[in-house]
């Protein structure tokens, strides 16, 4: 079963990837795929290894153009961040974007509720350090949630 599922997933990626890789910014699908990769590693290696590799900019699976994953627990404490390592260990549950949206709280709510989904907010783009509109796919992952977003 596992092998079958993996094969289907791999085939899907193989079909989609030529179109996406050509783009300047990562797409939503790529973002979801990155989340799945983190989930896969999380399942495979456990939280500590996953947090380390997510935060390590050298790991290419988790650092593709403007795409990077982030992991928080349900209290809003940042455990791993693909772009901004300064945030690791900080409680950002009260973090607001420029529109006043409590984005971390929404993510927690989303994770506790439907388990996954898309959330729009503003966030600094690591490529130019400009705060841009972002749409992130968030998915519950054990006691945590993991998300990857695209800048619009």
């Amino acid at each position: 079963m596992r092998i079958h599922a993996f094969l289907v997933f791999a085939a899907l990626i193989a079909i989609a990837s030529p179109a996406k890789t050509a783009a300047e910014f990562g797409s939503k699908d790529e973002a979801v795929a990155m989340v799945k990769r983190v989930q896969a590693e999380f399942k495979k290696s456990g939280p500590e290894a996953t947090f380390k590799s997510v935060s390590d900019k050298a790991v290419a699976d988790y650092h593709d153009r403007d795409l990077y994953p982030f992991i928080y627990n349900m209290e809003g404490i940042c455990l791993a961040h693909g772009a901004r390592p300064a945030l690791i260990g900080k409680n950002l549950i009260d973090l607001k974007d420029q529109d006043g949206k409590f984005l971390i709280r929404e993510m927690v709510t989303m994770s506790k509720g439907p388990g996954s989904g898309w959330i729009d907010y503003k966030w600094p783009n690591p490529l130019n350090n400009k705060i841009e509109d972002k749409s992130s796919y968030v998915e519950k992952m054990g006691d945590y949630f993991v998300g990857v977003g695209v800048y619009k």
Binding site: A86, L87, K90, D94, K96, P124, I131
Partner: protein, 589 residues
């Protein structure tokens, strides 16, 4: 005054319709002492009220001021300082993120980072100190507990922000939002508490101001009210004391001037003035009573005097009337007596004269009778009988005379004496007649005797002549006596006793005459009869002498009577004068 009204609320309700009059009624029944104290009491009450108010207000003000300066102001200052520090730190964090975003040197950033941490630590200490303040309320304590939690979060976020800012300025900028919120939350709490404290302080200030304002109003109002009330009370009390005292003084002056018909007011009051008025009224009533008693006594005295005077007058009148009557009667009687005495005196004089002449005649008769005596020896016996009878009569007459002398004084005696003469003369006359008859008989007998009787006839003739003379003399006497009797007509009434005595004598004489008459027939008894005649004539002579004596006595007596009557008249006049004088005195009294 207010006290008075308050002390009798039921009455006040009862008589509320009477209004001020009731107020005066209550006031009039209060003692002067209470009234005098009323004004001072009102002032005292006002003063106490003002003092109490000032004390309470100043105590309250002191408390308020102490609360402001010792509790609220320092607390507010602490809040303000915390607030200032929060704002300053907040600003510093902004400055840090700003510096970090604009690539200020690492050194400056590091320095600012240090300063922010120090500031945050100082702020923590400050907030901690604030939460430990002893003058916090429970609400403030609870609020500070909540603030502490918020502050902890704020502190963490601030530190996170600057930590992130050291390496990731855009993210620090991104985190400023939440730090802002946290700081605002803390600051808002601090400001709220500060606001609450400010409001509390404002409340205290407003309270102080209101208290002060109220105290000011109270003092003004209390002063004015106290002044008005005490002035009013003073006026009312003064009016209720001074006015009645003035009127009572006037009444007392009038009373002391002796005027009792004055109206004494204020007696229905129950205070000292009422009692005074009552006492004065008692004085007045006593004065009236004493006066009326004096008048009654005076009236009674006058009545008594008038009654006594009237009685005296009446008595005097009656006395005068009776005295005058008596005096008149006396005067009349005396006058009558006087005139009688005069008449009697005349009669007595006449009688004396007559008796003197009779005496002469009787002496003659005596001589004749003596001559006849022997011849009339027989007659003498009869005459002795007659003499005895006559003696009886004479005794009776004497007795009668004595009685009449005793009974009716000298007049009576005179009349008796006069009366005595009448029977005697009658007797003498009768004897003379009988002697005459005897002489006639003797003459006849002598004639019969013839010669032997010649001498006797001469004697008889002589006797007869003598008898006739005697009769004649006696007739004269009788005539004179009749004249006396006629003169004494007025006295006859008084002489009834004598008359009756004489009447009785007359009867005796009649008896005697009868006896003599019985003897008359006895011729033998002529001599005796002659002797009797002689004896009789002797008796007559004696009687005449006696009569003369009596007549003299009578004359004297009548003179005395006259003198007595005159004296009596004088005395009566004196008595009349004395009575008049006495009556004048009595009437004058």
């Amino acid at each position: 005054m207010e006290d008075a009204a308050a002390s009798q609320p039921p009455m006040a309700i009862y008589n509320s319709a009477r209004g001020p009059r009731f107020l005066f009624g209550v006031l009039n029944n209060l003692s002067v002492q209470i009234k005098a104290a009323a004004a001072s009491a009102v002032l005292l009450i006002c003063l106490l009220a003002l003092g109490a108010n000032a004390y309470v207000t100043s105590t309250k003000s002191a408390d308020g001021l102490r609360m402001l300066s010792h509790e609220l102001e320092p607390k507010l200052q602490a809040f303000s300082q915390v607030n200032d520090a929060i704002v300053a730190t907040h600003m510093t964090i902004f400055r840090y993120v700003s510096w970090a975003s604009n690539g200020v040197s690492e050194k400056l950033l590091a320095s600012l980072y240090k300063q922010i941490n120090a500031d945050l630590a100082a702020l923590s200490t400050r907030i901690d100190q604030l939460s430990r303040r002893p003058d916090l309320s429970e609400e403030e304590k609870a609020a500070l507990q909540a603030l502490m939690a918020k502050w902890q979060k704020c502190l963490r976020q601030a530190k996170d922000t600057i930590d992130v800012g050291q390496t990731d300025a855009p993210m620090a900028t991104m985190m400023l939002g939440q730090t802002d919120d946290s700081f605002k939350a803390v600051d808002s709490d601090i400001q709220m508490m500060s606001q609450a404290t400010t409001e509390a302080a404002n409340g205290v200030r407003a309270g102080l101001y209101a208290d002060t304002e109220r105290t000011k109003q109270f003092i003004i109002l209390g002063t004015i009210l106290g002044f008005i009330i005490s002035a009013f009370v003073t006026f009312i009390v003064g009016a209720s004391i001074v006015r009645p005292i003035k009127s009572i003084t006037g009444v007392m002056q009038q009373l002391s001037a002796g005027k009792t018909d004055v109206e004494i007011g204020h007696r229905d009051r129950r205070d000292e003035i009422g009692k005074m008025a009552e006492a004065i009224d008692v004085f007045r009533k006593n004065m009236i009573e004493i006066r009326s008693m004096e008048q009654a006594t005076h009236q009674a005295e006058q009545n008594r005097v008038a009654e006594r005077t009237a009685a005296m007058h009446e008595l005097a009148g009656e006395f005068e009337k009776s005295v005058q009557l008596i005096a008149k009667e006396l005067a009349d009687a005396v006058a009558a007596m006087h005139s009688n005495a005069q008449a009697m005196s005349l009669i007595a004089a006449e009688t004396r004269d007559k008796s003197q002449s009779t005496a002469g005649t009787v002496i003659d008769t005596q001589t004749n009778v003596d001559s006849v005596a022997n011849a009339a020896e027989e007659l003498a016996h009869s005459i002795d009988q007659l003499a005895a009878q006559t003696h009886n009569a004479r005794e009776l007459t004497s007795k009668t005379v004595a009685e009449s002398a005793n009974a009716s004084a000298n007049v009576q005696q005179l009349l008796d004496a006069v009366s005595q003469i009448v029977p005697i003369t009658g007797l003498i006359q009768a004897i003379a007649q009988k002697t005459n008859l005897l002489a006639l008989n003797a003459t006849i007998e002598a004639a019969r005797a013839g010669t032997a009787g010649k001498g006797f006839a001469v004697v008889a003739a002589e006797v007869k002549s003598l008898a006739q003379q005697t009769a004649k003399a006696t007739e004269e006497i009788n005539q004179k006596i009749t004249a006396v009797n006629a003169s004494c007509g007025a006295v006859v009434a008084i002489m009834e006793q004598v008359v009756s005595a004489i009447g009785r004598l007359g009867e005796g004489t009649v008896e005697m005459a009868t006896a003599v008459g019985q003897q008359a027939a006895a011729t033998q008894e002529i001599s005796k009869n002659a002797q009797q005649a002689a004896d009789g004539s002797r008796i007559v002579a004696n009687n005449i002498v006696e009569l003369d004596k009596k007549a003299r006595e009578n004359d004297d007596a009548s003179g005395q009577a006259l003198a007595g009557a005159k004296r009596l008249l004088d005395q009566a006049a004196i008595l009349q004068r004395q009575v008049d004088k006495f009556l004048r005195h009595v009437r004058a009294a």
